[in-house]
């Protein structure tokens, strides 16, 4: 696969992945972590496609802090979603009431 092919095949909409690739997932190369050397992936046309690097050990503490921080982020979002739903209850009650009246004739 070349970078040029990837660009040529690009569509700004969702298209399914090639079924042959889907079936072949168990045979994909597993790129194991390497602490120091980044893994560089180039296309057959030498175009740069991707790089994978490993975070330094000093960042591992930070990752656990981030993990705890993410736990606090999403509950806030859920709470707000609940408030939004509750706020909309009277509106939906009215809509439902009028819909019922109309159906009942």
């Amino acid at each position: 696969m070349s970078l040029g092919e990837l660009w040529a095949n690009h569509r700004p909409c969702h298209i399914g992945v090639n079924p042959i690739l889907l079936q072949d997932v168990p045979n994909f190369t597993i790129c194991q972590s390497h602490q120091v050397t980044p893994l560089l992936l180039y296309g057959s046309d030498d175009g740069f496609i991707a790089v994978r690097f490993h975070l330094q050990d000093s960042m591992l503490d930070l990752l656990s802090q981030l993990s705890a921080a993410i736990d606090t982020l999403l509950p806030i979002k859920l709470q707000r979603a609940k408030v939004k739903c509750l706020r909309d209850v009277p509106l939906w009650a009215l809509v439902s009431f009028y819909a019922t009246c109309k159906t009942d004739g």
């Binding site: 997932v25 597993i30 802090q65 993990s67 982020l73 999403l74």
Partner: protein
Amino acid sequence: MCHYGLWCPFMLLAKLTDEHLDNADVADAFIHLCQPIFCEMTATLGSFAPQIFHEFQQYPLPNDAQNPCGAWSACAVNNTRNRLAETNVHRDVKESPYCCSCVFACGDYIGGDIVLYELRCKIESPGDVPLFPDSLIHHNNEKAEGSRKSTLAFNMND
């Protein structure tokens, strides 16, 4: 999923996401905490893909604003919450095909490898940070046992 930072869907100039504005203090604190990782991601982007790095600098931003996520303008935060969650195979089609996004995962989990289909490879995710054109390459993460959280730094196309 939460989106923090600047983005500009159907707008001339980027603005903070609604989720960021709703919880500005929390979002700012989270982005601040991520800065060392965003810096390392930005340094890697600048080293291996300087043209993309340069491209990112051209995106117009409001006065005095800086990209909050290193070279990237926004980030999406996911939390599987102890579900055996795997994402659907997808491409991020709203992003430019000439740009790269960068993702890192954290939490207490096993599995959750990132599969890059067109490249026919899987990346073991704990501590690994892949940087790849997510609008070109179909990708997903495999089932993860435990609580897998991830943060994806990205730039929107429009």
